[in-house]
Amino acid sequence: MMRARAGLFATKLDMQMTPMIDVVFQLLIFFMLTYRPRLTETAFLIALPAPGVQAQAASADDPTPDPLESLLPDIPIRLRADGQGRLVEIVMGNRPLASVAELRAALETFLHSVEGRAREKVKVEIEPDASLRYEFIVEVIGAATAAGIERVDLGQPRSTEDTRAPPPGAGS
């Protein structure tokens, strides 16, 4: 008798799944909507000391001043912009260049002509027009880095009317 009764009322204990599934789907939708794929950020590390201050190397391995530095002149790179801030002219020293790729090639050629340890001391000074967009400056810094030059300085912003030849010892 007892056995039959137990069999009759031994119903399965049902858990209410609906609210849990509701919440779980809400969570899923929240995470899916807030999901942003991780974009890899890259960077150029440059050392820009204040005028008159000895540069602290970006790699921070040799803080002592080097006599080679005073012998090597900076390579001035003048960047001219059009009315929309687009790069229209690159002048390395007094030599006009057609593109950033050509600038990179010219810098590589120059660097090959420099001997041994002095190569690390070569520095470019970028002198852009005030209205030039940042993306072009990054492109030029990239060209210098790709050519093997780690030392970059950013000069005073120029007005478009400035003459091509940079003043001697120009810097910020």
Binding site: A43, V138, A146
Partner: protein
């Protein structure tokens, strides 16, 4: 007949277990890939694209993030500051950060000379060079020497 109906009315049951398993897997995935690191970076800044820049692993406690929008607004000091009109406030912020870093360096026994901070400049690709120069000059005047110019790789 009625008794029979009462006991056998339950229809076919759908097995929910695989679906719940999968849903939890998906939730776990999205929770793990949720990117909390970009709290310092502002989505309004569209970084310049270059393939030459490298991924850097800089000491996080030395980084000072400066987000610069294309119209010359600085988006990093907890609110928006204009490079044109709020320069004294920006300079005050930078010198305050420099003081904190100097104090930390001085308290360390074998700290190298120079200010340890690194300015992470996240500037919009359309920002004019004048604004970049103004901000960099303010950082240099505060004593910062090391800069990390942020960029982004070309999307595959």
């Amino acid at each position: 007949m009625a008794l029979r109906k009462l006991f056998f009315v339950a229809g076919p049951e759908i097995d929910m277990t695989p679906m719940i398993d999968m849903t939890f897997q998906l939730i776990a995935f999205f929770m793990f890939v949720m990117n909390f690191e970009t709290t310092e970076s502002d989505q309004r800044v569209r970084l310049p694209i270059t393939d030459i820049a490298r991924v850097t692993n800089l000491p996080r406690d030395e980084l000072i993030y400066l987000n610069l929008a294309r119209d010359g607004r600085l988006l990093a000091v907890g609110r928006e500051l204009s490079l044109k009109s709020d320069m004294p406030e920006i300079e005050e912020y930078l010198s305050r950060e420099a003081r904190v870093l100097r104090a930390r360096r001085d308290s360390a026994a074998d700290a190298p000379p120079g200010l340890p901070g690194i300015i992470v400049l996240r500037a919009d690709k359309e920002t004019s060079y004048r604004d970049i120069h103004d901000l960099v000059s303010a950082c240099r005047a505060a004593g910062f020497q090391r800069f990390s110019l942020s960029a982004r790789r070309k999307e595959p």
